[in-house]
Symmetry: C2
Subunit: 178 residues, 2 copies
C-alpha cells in the first residue's frame, strides 16, 4: 500500500542506509562510499554556507575571496606588492570547478570586495585584487569558519583526522586519469 511509507529501519540496514531510509543494504560498496561522501559533505557544507552568508557571500564567492586574500597577505609578508591575480589563475586554485568565474567576480566587485585592473603586460588578462573591505571580511570570517570546522570535526581524534585526509586524497587520485 505504502500510502504512508514507514521509516522503520530493519536492523540489518545501518549507517547511511538507515539515515536516508534505504530499505535494502548497498550492493556495491563503491556506491555506498560515494553516497557517504556526498551526504557528509553536503551536511557539513550547509554550516559553512550559512556562516559566509552573513557577509552576503556564497560558497564559491568566499572561496575566491579567500584565495585572493591569501595571496595578498602572503605577498605582503614578503614585502612585495600584490598586483592582482588573473581570472584563470584564480580558477586553478578553486576547490570546486566553477564554469563562470567572470560573473562570480562581477558579484564580488559589486559588493566592493574586489577590484579589477587590466594587466599591462598582456592586455587580455584582468588582474583581480581584494579591496580593503574584502580583506577585512575575509579576516573576519576565517576564525568563525575555523571554529565551525573544529566544532563539526573536532570529535575525531588526530589519528582519525589524518587518516581521513589521507583516504580522501587517495579517493580522488583517479579523477582526470585517462
Amino acid at each position: 500500500m505504502m500510502s504512508e511509507p514507514t521509516n522503520a529501519i530493519s536492523p540489518s540496514v545501518s549507517g547511511l542506509a538507515a539515515e536516508i531510509g534505504k530499505q535494502q543494504p548497498f550492493e556495491v560498496v563503491e556506491e555506498e562510499l560515494f553516497l557517504n561522501l556526498l551526504r557528509t559533505t553536503a551536511l557539513l557544507n550547509d554550516g559553512t554556507v550559512s556562516v559566509v552568508k552573513d557577509a552576503g557571500l556564497s560558497g564559491p564567492l568566499y572561496n575566491i575571496l579567500r584565495i585572493l586574500t591569501g595571496f595578498a597577505d602572503c605577498t605582503a609578508r614578503d614585502g612585495a606588492v600584490f598586483d592582482g591575480m588573473p581570472v584563470t589563475g584564480i580558477a586553478e586554485h578553486m576547490l570546486t570547478r566553477e564554469p563562470d568565474m567572470t560573473r562570480l567576480i562581477d558579484r564580488l566587485e559589486k559588493l566592493g570586495f574586489v577590484e579589477r585592473a587590466r594587466c599591462p603586460d598582456d592586455r587580455r588578462r584582468v588582474l583581480v585584487s581584494p579591496t580593503e573591505d574584502g580583506r577585512r571580511v575575509a579576516h573576519e570570517l576565517r576564525p568563525r569558519l575555523e571554529a565551525l570546522h573544529k566544532d563539526q570535526l573536532g570529535h575525531l581524534s588526530p589519528e582519525e583526522q589524518s587518516q581521513l585526509i589521507e583516504l580522501l586524497h587517495k579517493a580522488r587520485a583517479r579523477v582526470g586519469e585517462a
Copy 2:
C-alpha cells in the same frame, strides 16, 4: 610583484595544499579536512552529474527518481501496490537537503518520469510515483553509475573503503546537534 603567480610548490606543502596551489600549509587540521571533503566530493560528483545528464537529469532529479524507483521496486517485490510517495517523504530520503521539492518534481513530471496524484486520505498530500519511462531510465542509469563509482573508487582496498565509510559516518555525527 605577482603579476603572474607561480605554481611552484614548496616541498613542505603537500596533498590538498599543493593541488590548489596554497602557499602556506594548513594551520587548522579540521579546516584541511573539510576542504579535502569538499574537493573530493566535487571532483567525484562531476562524473556522476555528467552520466545522469545523458538522461536529461540533474543530480537531485536523479536522486528523486532513484528513491521512487527503489520504493516501487521494493513494494512490487513484496507483491504489494505502490500508491506513490508524498513530497515530504521523498525529501526525507534525499541525500542532500533540497528546499524546493515542488519544482524538482515539476521537472520530472514534465519529462514524463513521474506522475502525481492526490492522496485520498489526506487531500493536502500529493503522492508521487515513477512512470514506466522513469523506472526504465533509472534502471538504465544504475549500472552505468555503479561502473563509474567502481572506476573512481575501486583502487581503494576493501579495508580502506570500509574505513572511509566509517570515518565519514563519524564525521557527520555532530551535525544537527544542539
